[in-house]
Amino acid sequence: MSKYLFYPGCSLQRTARPYIDSLLAIRELIGLELEEIEDWNCCGATEYVAVHHVAAYALVGRNLALAARQVDGTHTVMAACSACYLNLAKTDSYMRQDAHLAQQVNTALDAGGLQYTPGTVKVRHLLDIIVNDLGIEAVRAKVVRPLKGLRVAPYYGCMIARPDRDNRWDNVEHPLALDRLLKALGAEVIDFPMKTHCCGGHMTQINQASAYELIRRLIHGAAEYHADIMVTLCPMCQLNLDAYQSEMNRYFRTNYHVPIIYFTQLMGLAFGLEAEALGLGKEFVDPRPALSRIGIELPAAEPETVTVVEQPRRKKKDSGLPMPRMPGSKEADE
């Protein structure tokens, strides 16, 4: 068993509950021992640093200082969320480089009776630890139900591979760690050209047209390669691509259906674990058809509690110029 200090982050407590559930379910099988950082706080995502400078680094500094107090046999802090990973790594790296910032952060931490010496802990992402510490072979050895015939798009998102100031990854634009891991599970991994493109981040809350276009590019890319399913390792990416996929389809009048699940869920399935223990079934885009293709049957969906009645579009009565219609579209036939 290899032991790591664990920073779960806010998303894993709620929107990405299936991520942590599946991680905890596979943890023993892959020999991962986790010790949660006590009373950790939010990393600030991409928002705190847009408002405050010293406070944004002090916010993360508190987590690093708390982690440093728990250092016992391991110096490695593991985060599963990309934004948490980047914020922790970036704060430690900037505190190492910028003595003035390090001093300001420590002056702030002092107000709470804490101190942090930059470099005390090493910050790493879950995928990095699984692939580079525990090893692909250890994963392969646990596979009892190979995902043969399942075409998977490996989606890394932006913030784990970039900016990568500590050189943790093989490539900042086309990393291969997740590809190799998924191949070890027996899956057919597509050479996904959009693997580190942006999912839209917080844009769904700020400018939807802009967010939907970024979501469309990724979903379209995966569909072009006939991927059955897309695998992600970030709560924000999963939320944007899954929960907003139908909105995106409505916006562009498309009909994509690409289920988005966490790589830990797919690992659990290949290890023969039950879908329920892996948090499967909480997606907006149903992964059942894709998984049943390779003989993995998930329990039936709960009855839909919300039915949305689509209101027919009201026709304008003005005698303006006719709008262009796509051939074969509904309105053109009327």
């Binding site: 928002e47 408002v51 002090a58 916010l59 702030a108």
Partner: protein, 199 residues
């Protein structure tokens, strides 16, 4: 500059001189580490790599030229930093290794401090988000989404009901925020940090 002394002579000699009190110097000083912003060669790799460039008033390259030209207000009023999605493509592709994403964060902070923005959606989102952190120590999606959308997109709220109910019934969202145990400690740290920013 101390960085200039650490560089090989041929590079140090080619560094553009800082004009004291220039906007360029101000932006660089407000960015952690060495942002290398004065090294920009106006190649445009940043804008070409940016997934949001089409929505921006100015591409990152243009913004950097404007910073050098001391066009303070035009830079801070630009929507460019608010469309940055923090994907870091520009940062890793920049041949001069300018920390572009971090410079965008600096511009956001300056624009918020001076209230120089035409569309308040993104600045308000950031401020609502951090308000929950300051009160609870954790983010709170349900509160954030409801509050932000009530303020900025009230007419679209009905269309978001299926999303919200879906999140709640799937157990992916809570109606109440979680609070960390030692919130007083966090608040003391953040208050001290914000005092330091003011000096």
């Amino acid at each position: 500059m101390t960085e200039q002394q650490n560089l090989p002579a041929y590079q140090a000699a080619s560094l553009p001189p800082f004009i004291p009190g220039s906007f360029l110097k101000e932006v660089m000083d407000a960015t952690p580490g060495d942002s290398r912003l004065q090294m920009c060669i106006q190649c445009g790799t940043c804008g070409g790599s940016c997934p949001s460039a089409a929505d921006m008033d100015h591409t990152p390259r243009q913004i950097f030229a404007m910073i050098r030209a001391d066009m303070r207000e035009a830079v801070l009023r630009s929507n460019t930093p608010w469309y940055c999605v923090s994907c870091y493509y520009c940062t890793v592709r920049c041949p001069q290794e300018v920390h572009i994403t971090d410079v965008m964060y600096t511009l956001k902070r300056m624009a918020i401090r001076e209230k120089l923005y035409d569309d308040s959606t993104a600045p308000d989102f950031s401020q609502t988000f951090i308000g929950y952190i300051e009160n609870f120590g954790r983010s709170f999606e349900f509160g954030l989404a409801t509050r932000h959308n009530l303020r900025h997109r009230p007419l679209q709220l009905p269309s978001m009901v299926p999303f919200g109910l879906g999140m709640l019934t799937k157990g992916r969202m809570d109606l109440t925020p979680q609070r960390i145990e030692n919130i007083e400690q966090l608040q003391a740290i953040l208050n001290r940090a914000i005092e330091l920013e003011a000096t």
